[in-house]
């Protein structure tokens, strides 16, 4: 079935350098630096990326960072917990807006 998201498109990511190679180079350098071992380990950063991938619901990122998490030594339990963190923040972010609803409700009702 035709789909907007095709797995074979992921390796074509670097075709984004066409048209603006300087910006692509800056992005690539920065991206690489972000994921390098630092105050956080590469494994921890990859788990954060996996969680964010779910928050932004990017199929390419979910594919890439599931593999990357395994290749950094994470297990399914750790990866699942990371996804739950993303979901908790997404859910919580919606739920906390209920306070806005309550504010409006309080103003409009006796």
């Amino acid at each position: 079935m035709e789909t907007y998201y095709k797995p074979e498109d992921l390796p074509k990511f670097d075709t984004m350098k066409e048209g603006s190679p300087e910006l692509w180079e800056k992005f690539s350098d920065w991206y690489g630096a972000v994921f390098a071992e630092g105050a956080l380990s590469e494994r921890e950063k990859t788990l954060i990326a996996l969680a964010v991938a779910h928050a932004v619901q990017c199929p390419y990122c979910i594919d890439a960072y599931t593999q990357a998490s395994l290749e950094k030594g994470s297990n399914l339990e750790q990866m699942t917990e990371a996804v739950h963190v993303a979901c908790a923040i997404r859910g919580g972010a919606s739920l906390v807006h209920g306070v806005q609803m309550k504010n409006v409700h309080a103003k409009l009702t006796m």
């Binding site: 380990s41 590469e42 494994r43 593999q67 395994l70 290749e71 950094k72 030594g73 297990n75 399914l76």
Partner: protein, 349 residues
């Protein structure tokens, strides 16, 4: 998830139990870069051996486990076992060389009925011996005295434990393997294995539990040491990360799970010239259960013997013909040259 096995592929008459069938798949003209071409990125035209430093002897395909990724297709049903006569040829050959390290593998090498005799004879030559033990055999009926035997002979033990949790380990190696492995590790620790001051070396091997490359060896070793100590009070010396090569049962898994093409592409794109120059076949001679000589254990399982006039059998062993030999390569070799590299001693780059 693919089903656990209780017998080898050979026992079920599966086509991939045949080395030629495996070679047909991995060496098919599929448009993928050939290893021999890619190797030239190292600056060298061919993979050439150095003087052998390691004698790796596969003393039998019989094993008490049937791991899903096993490149030997080992199992309880396998009858290929090195005879005492062939062991004697190995000892005769070893005595003529300065090779200091003997690496005993299988199957479960302990299941060879002449294992203890062989170890004792090699010790008389004053060589360092490593045994690739699957751990569970050390707590199996009839093998309870083996940990002490190994310790008494100062044998280095190298054991697979593909993860520090039961679920991941058992998925690859079989139900209950993790628990038995922990029990065996406890016994090994009690007699001094893995403890710096004892001189008894106990190393662990990590294999990915699926179609992906291993993590960085150093960082994973820290995770293993922390988890095994915190949860079980266990210690070991070093962790070796080993990449799964696309042969035998792992090849079967790749095909069954639809991961074959992606995995081969992953290995090729992760080709690392410095890993390719440090592959273990450069300084290893692999000897099959029947005495045949190979460049490595993987070539042994693919039935790719030494070539270019090198001796084919341990009876005819002659180091002069083995130095600077052209190593037999194929698409499976991408597994040892990917990322940080892979060998029986872990990462190479």
């Amino acid at each position: 998830m693919i089903k656990a096995r209780n017998k080898s592929m050979k026992a079920f008459g599966e086509s991939l139990a045949n080395a030629n069938e495996q070679l047909k798949i991995i060496n098919q003209p599929d448009g993928l870069t050939r290893f021999e071409e890619k190797f030239k990125e190292t600056g060298e035209s061919q993979l050439i051996s150095k003087e052998p430093e390691i004698f790796q002897i596969n003393i039998g395909k019989m094993c008490n486990q049937v791991c899903k990724h096993c490149h030997v297709d080992a199992g309880p049903d396998r009858k290929e076992i090195m005879t005492k006569e062939t062991m004697q040829y190995c000892i005769n050959a070893l005595a003529k060389t300065n090779i200091q390290t003997v690496d005993l593998t299988g199957g479960a090498p302990e299941m060879n009925p002449d294992f203890k005799w062989f170890v004792s004879e090699i010790k008389k030559l004053n060589r360092h011996i490593m045994v690739r033990s699957n751990l569970t055999i050390l707590v199996s009926n009839g093998f309870e005295d083996y940990p002490k035997f190994l310790a008494d002979n100062k044998i280095e033990i190298i054991s697979s434990l593909p993860y520090y949790t039961a679920s991941n380990t058992d998925r690859q190696r079989g139900e209950g393997v993790f628990e038995k492995s922990i029990k065996a590790m406890r016994i090994l620790n009690e007699i001094g294995y893995g403890k710096e001051e004892s001189g008894l070396i106990f190393n662990i091997v990590y294999n990915p539990i699926g179609a992906f490359l291993p993590p960085k060896q150093e960082s994973l070793e820290k995770d293993y040491k922390r988890e095994l100590w915190n949860k079980f009070g266990l210690v070991f010396n070093n962790l070796y990360t080993i990449t799964n090569l696309p042969i035998s049962r792992f090849l079967d898994y790749l095909i069954e799970s639809g991961n074959y093409d992606n995995y081969m592409n992953k290995l090729i794109s992760a080709f690392n010239p410095s890993a390719a120059l440090n592959v273990m076949c450069k300084n290893t001679i692999s000897i099959g259960w029947d005495g045949q000589l190979y460049d490595c254990d993987f070539n042994q399982m693919l039935e790719l013997p030494l070539k270019n006039g090198s001796p084919r059998h341990i009876k005819d062993f002659d180091t002069e013909f083995l130095n600077n030999r052209v190593i037999v390569t194929g698409q499976h070799c991408f597994g040892c040259a990917a990322g940080a590299g892979s060998s029986c001693g872990g990462a190479t780059a």
